[in-house]
């Protein structure tokens, strides 16, 4: 997104309700408190990159947003609905797993390990949720899937099974699969970490295109270059809290917090 667009998005975020609103999110695994009060707003159309050292709770936070993990305290809202719970007559009730499944249908997710369905072709992978979960017409879904495959540069791979594709191709199919449900929000959990270095670029290119098209994205990654070019905002997490956040040119070039500085210093060679 260019600077003007980003500023207008920032201006809009003041007026328009945020698409994601996380308040005081806590999460523990047993005695290990992984998230210690995360607050984060994401405006519609905004691209937020979460950086942070290993074990800082980035993946956990991302998985809380679509309730793959239940949070212990605080609240998360997506598109005006509280995830996992429903407020009725002043009482907060836990939603059934079926109702949570419905909430997840507007959130697309891309995993580090791709998690494509190995017994289905690329095309079948992409149309599975639109046809089976969203009740779309099959012909329409196939047409849109072919469209998406073209967008990620894999038109000729529609009949290929995941194991016949390279890692980068699999991840691009996985991105197409997540886009096929026409999500309002896309979550990426280290989408390039499982890839050979020469395959990272092709996936990042696809993600850069998406960022430019106004899709709301939250991306956990170690690719500082991607953060610099495509992010509207960079959030630096460490030890289960947000240490620092701001525009990428500020955070990356001029970090305020010593922990951010230490983390970024490791990337100077590669950035």
């Amino acid at each position: 997104m260019n600077v003007a667009a980003r500023d207008s998005a920032a201006a809009a975020s003041a007026a328009v309700a945020p698409l994601v609103r996380a308040r005081n999110v806590h999460k523990s695994f047993g005695a290990n408190e992984v998230l210690k009060g995360i607050d984060l707003d994401v405006a519609p159309g905004e691209v937020v990159v979460i950086l942070g050292p290993s074990g800082s709770g980035k993946s956990t936070f991302l998985r809380c947003i679509n309730h793959l993990e239940a949070i212990d305290r605080g609240s998360i809202e997506v598109d005006g609905e509280q995830i996992g719970y429903q407020l009725r007559h002043g009482r907060l009730n836990k939603l059934s797993s079926r109702a949570i499944a419905v909430q997840r249908r507007k959130i697309g997710m891309v995993f580090q390990q791709f998690n494509l369905y190995p017994h289905m072709t690329a095309l079948e992978n992409i149309i599975e949720a639109p046809v089976g979960v969203h009740g779309q017409d099959r012909r329409e879904a196939v047409a849109y899937a072919m469209d998406l495959l073209a967008r990620v540069g894999l038109s000729e791979k529609a009949p290929a099974y995941p194991r016949q594709l390279s890692g980068g191709q699999q991840q691009r199919v996985a991105i197409a699969r997540a886009l096929a449900i026409r999500p309002k929000l896309m979550l990426f959990d280290e989408p390039t970490s499982a890839l050979d270095p020469e395959l990272v670029g092709e996936v990042l290119n696809v993600m850069r295109d998406l960022a430019g098209q106004g899709l709301t994205m939250i991306v956990v990654t170690h690719e500082i270059g991607f953060a610099r070019e495509a992010a509207d905002r960079v959030v630096f997490m460490d030890g289960g809290i947000v240490v620092e956040e701001g525009r990428p040119e500020d955070i990356l070039a001029n970090p305020q917090h010593p922990r951010t500085r230490l983390f970024l210093s490791r990337f100077i060679d590669t950035a």
Partner: protein, 306 residues
């Protein structure tokens, strides 16, 4: 030496070294082993075929006799029905066993413990004699009025006792096989179905079970074959299956070995057909695997180690 001639000899060398033209070494040991096995097998076949005690003419006479074919159809029918019911109950048990609900998983565990822990023969006799324990079977509200009631003796025929005994026993074994298969599926797959908002039932049907099938089918093939032979146990509760029909004949004619050969050949024939079917099903669920030889790789490693 001038440069071109070096190039030429290099090219000739490269052509000679092209592995596409390589010859395989002749495996003399392997050929010898094959020959030896073939000679022994032919000899053994010859001896069996010419041994009058096997009574091959009697075998041929009875092989397709109506009473034998009726017994065969009982065996096959029982196998199919008991297996289908067993797989369905087994699937439900496996899902219950893996559920987060403690009550559900304990109940499933209890069922599996009981039916795997007692001999099938005892279970069959128990079902057959159910009327001595419960003369009446009724549907009722606990501690409340009775809605419907039947005489146990009308309900439990040899047929229903056989089906109940075989299928409930089978369910316990299938539950563990199916549970193992479901556990073998990568956790990331479950996560993906969750993230896409699939219901549990759909995720199981479309994503999890098809992948679990690869490890469920081979042991299920085993179970099916054991089941065909286990049906012969029902002869104790007066079901006229294949073995029972054969026994009925040799009790009259005293041609024990030939009649048993009739049964043996039928059992082998049916299992062979099932093996072929299993091969087809395995190949279907192996789609998406890279390379045809992928599954054989572990076996090859074993072979080389030996």
């Amino acid at each position: 030496m001038s440069a071109p001639s070096v190039d030429e000899s290099r090219a000739a060398d490269a052509a000679l070294r092209d592995v596409a033209n390589a010859h395989r070494p002749i495996a003399w040991g392997r050929w010898l082993l094959w020959a030896l096995v073939l000679i022994i097998a032919t000899d053994f076949g010859w001896i069996v075929a010419n041994n009058e005690n096997f009574g091959w003419p009697v075998v041929a006479e009875w092989f397709t006799a109506p009473s034998i074919l009726r017994g065969l159809s009982v065996t096959l029918g029982l196998t199919v029905v008991a297996m289908v019911i067993g797989v369905i109950i087994g699937l439900l048990l496996a899902i219950a066993r893996m559920s987060d609900d403690r009550l559900l998983s304990s109940l499933a565990g209890l069922y599996i413990w009981f039916f795997r822990g007692t001999p099938l023969l005892v279970q069959l006799i128990f079902w057959y004699n159910l009327s001595t324990l419960f003369p009446q079977i009724s549907i009722a509200i606990p501690f409340g009025p009775t809605l419907a009631s039947w005489d146990t003796n009308d309900l439990i025929t040899p047929m229903t006792a056989a089906i109940a005994g075989l299928s409930l026993n089978e369910a316990a074994y299938m539950a563990e096989i199916i549970r193992g298969g479901l556990l073998s599926v990568d956790k990331g797959q479950v996560e993906a179905t969750d993230a896409f908002g699939m219901t549990r039932a759909r995720a199981l049907r479309r994503i999890i079970i098809p992948q679990a099938m690869r490890s469920i089918i081979p042991p299920t093939g085993n179970q099916l074959i054991s089941m065909i032979k286990a049906t012969s146990l029902v002869s104790v509760i007066a079901m006229a299956d294949l073995l029972y029909s054969v026994q009925a004949v040799y009790n009259r004619t005293f041609e024990v070995i030939p009649m048993l050969m009739v049964a043996v050949i039928w059992y082998l024939l049916v299992t062979s057909i099932l093996n072929v079917g299993q091969g087809f099903i395995e190949r279907y669920y192996a789609r998406g695997e890279r390379g045809a030889g992928g599954d054989k790789a572990p076996a090859r490693a074993m072979e080389e180690a030996i």
